[in-house]
């Protein structure tokens, strides 16, 4: 196979671009200039624009190197496609990982927490039966022991951090709504304002009745409901049903998964409350260890609150807090969240709050 070399050489000349030194120096000058700009602009605070600006300048520099020094400009288009595709994949890699990590906490639990059978097993759940009490006991172990303790004596692992403390069900004094089943049912529906006793309205009504009967069983001296007590919570004792409440709630996937992980969570709860890294006294870390760790976990993983079926904002570890400005933090921590489990700690000074804020942000 004979080859015409002249032809080859012509092709050579066409393909093989030689970078003129003058252009090389110009590009070098531009690169040095841009480096100076980057260092110089770093002295100013452009807030949220700092980072994009630095990356923008770096990208111009990178393009100059690629296009001129590596001569991608005169190269076949294929090579540009090959090379720049890698950055596309890098972007996908970063964006998808980021969207998971930073927004995981924003998956709010909407709707009831527990999947109920579409039809209630219990025709008149306000009438206590051994079966209902047993069911209530089981639910209590999952939802309430973290605050009220295994025997309902108000001495759960989170109790120490709570003001007011959780109710001791064996005592008759101090009840706000009252200790009749219907009154406990109401507590579970509405929560107790200004305390960490949250509403458990996301539980199906029959489960709330079961819980109420179990709580009553802890101190059998507690009174029975009268017809008017029942009427107060919308129950007509002569008819079957839930007293106007649906018992066929839906369950979001995330909650189903959380339920599956309950066993695992209980281990986490036990271990995270036990740990108490020696933090300097009076520091944000120490305060966190004494007041917040019970609910938010050692490093913000939401140890106990995960069991309470409340908003995933309690997972301080996820990005949900990264957007919480200090003002909001201050208001949440000093006043608590009304109608929610998050209690308020009004006695903190601004400096203490700032220290705590730094700690919480770093603990994530």
């Amino acid at each position: 196979m004979a080859h015409d070399h002249k032809h080859d050489d012509k092709k050579h000349g066409h393909h093989h671009y030689v970078l003129p030194n003058s252009l090389a120096f110009k590009v070098f000058g531009a690169l040095i200039f841009l480096t100076i700009i980057t260092v110089w602009t770093a002295h100013f605070d452009f807030g949220a624009f700092n980072f994009p600006l630095a990356m923008f300048i770096a990208t111009i520099k990178a393009l100059l190197v690629c296009m001129i020094f590596m001569n991608l400009k005169n190269d076949v288009k294929e090579n540009s496609v090959i090379f720049f595709t890698s950055f596309l994949f890098l972007a996908i890699f970063i964006v998808l990982t980021g969207s998971d990590i930073f927004f995981r906490g924003d998956v709010y639990v909407k709707g009831p927490l527990v999947a109920g059978a579409s039809k209630s097993k219990f025709k008149k759940p306000w009438v206590s039966t051994a079966e209902l009490v047993a069911h209530g006991k089981e639910l209590f172990g999952q939802q309430c022991t973290s605050c009220h303790g295994a025997e309902g004596l108000g001495n759960g692992p989170a109790a120490a951090a709570l003001v007011p403390p959780p109710r001791n069900f064996a005592q008759n004094a101090g009840w706000k709504n009252g200790y009749k089943p219907s009154q406990i049912f109401k507590t579970l529906k509405e929560g107790i304002k200004g305390s960490s006793m949250a509403s458990f309205a996301t539980l199906p009504a029959e489960d709330r009745w079961a819980l109420a009967h179990y709580v009553v069983s802890i101190n059998p001296a507690h009174a029975k409901d009268t017809t008017s007590d029942l009427a107060a919570v919308g129950v007509d004792p002569s008819k079957d049903g839930m007293g106007g409440e649906s018992s066929s709630p839906t369950i979001p996937v995330s909650v189903a998964m959380a339920k599956l992980a309950v066993a695992d969570i209980n281990v986490a709860v036990a271990s995270s409350v036990a740990k108490n890294p020696d933090a300097p006294v009076g520091s944000g870390a120490a305060y966190y260890q004494s007041k917040c760790v019970g609910c938010h976990g050692v490093s913000g993983e939401g140890a106990l609150v995960r069991n309470m079926g409340v908003s995933p904002k309690a997972y301080l570890k996820t990005g949900s807090l990264s957007g919480v400005p200090f003002d909001r933090f201050k208001s949440v921590v000093t006043k608590g969240l009304p109608g929610d489990v998050m209690p308020g700690y009004g006695n903190l000074s601004n400096a203490q709050l700032q220290d705590l804020y730094n700690y919480v942000k770093s603990a994530r």
């Binding site: 196979m1 004979a2 080859h3 070399h5 080859d8 092709k11 050579h12 393909h15 030689v18 970078l19 003129p20 030194n21 090389a24 120096f25 070098f28 690169l31 040095i32 480096t35 980057t38 260092v39 770093a42 605070d45 700092n50 980072f51 630095a54 990356m55 300048i57 770096a58 520099k61 990178a62 190197v65 690629c66 001129i68 020094f69 590596m70 190269d75 076949v76 090579n79 090959i82 090379f83 595709t85 890698s86 950055f87 890098l90 890699f93 970063i94 990982t97 980021g98 990590i101 930073f102 300097p280 520091s283 870390a285 990005g319 990264s322 730094n358 700690y359 770093s362 603990a363 994530r364």
Partner: protein, 229 residues
Amino acid sequence: MSDAHHGHVVEHPGSKPHVVAHHFNDADHEFDASKQGMWVFMVTEVLMLGGLFVAYAIFRGLYPEMFKAAHAYLSVKMGATNTVVLLTSSLTMAMAVSATQRGERNKALGLLAATVALAGVFLVVKYFEYSHKIHSGLLPGGLFGTEQNAELIKNFPKAPLFFSLYFMMTGIHGLHVVIGMGLILWIMKRTSAKEFGPHFYTPVELVGFYWHFVDLVWIYLFPLLYLVG
């Protein structure tokens, strides 16, 4: 000149002839294929470093204040010096390639030697930076000197993470610098042996790509690590 068994031979007066590998149609085919192979290799480099850049993005997003506080322990002066050193070495490398293309062998050798020397300067600066970090206990993860840096660790318990990223990213980059120096020395040896000229300079150009890539990575590492705003 062409031979069905051994492929083409390309020549330039005063240089050794280059025999085109037999599976290529001609010298251009060989050149283009080699170059494309190099671009594909650089894609794998981007994706390898990509893992670290993702880790960086995630942790910076989670601990913005910590990054700001920890980055203050790096020396912007040294980082900026090294940026200028690497950019200059990219210039000498690019000029070494074009000198080879023009058949100016001695000039090419001088420029390649300058590139290696600049790479050496980069590593010396890096050595000073590293030894300062090591003495101050600014080390990754469990190696971090908690007593030496009590104030930092008290306010930002996750600070060792920044230094894990710093050492991992600059360490892998530094490894590339060392490998690049080896490659340039190899190219210098072959240039002295008169293997390259206007007829054949593929290895010079491809080692040049590698070197520019090392520069490219640093262009991003510098603002990401030294200039956290």
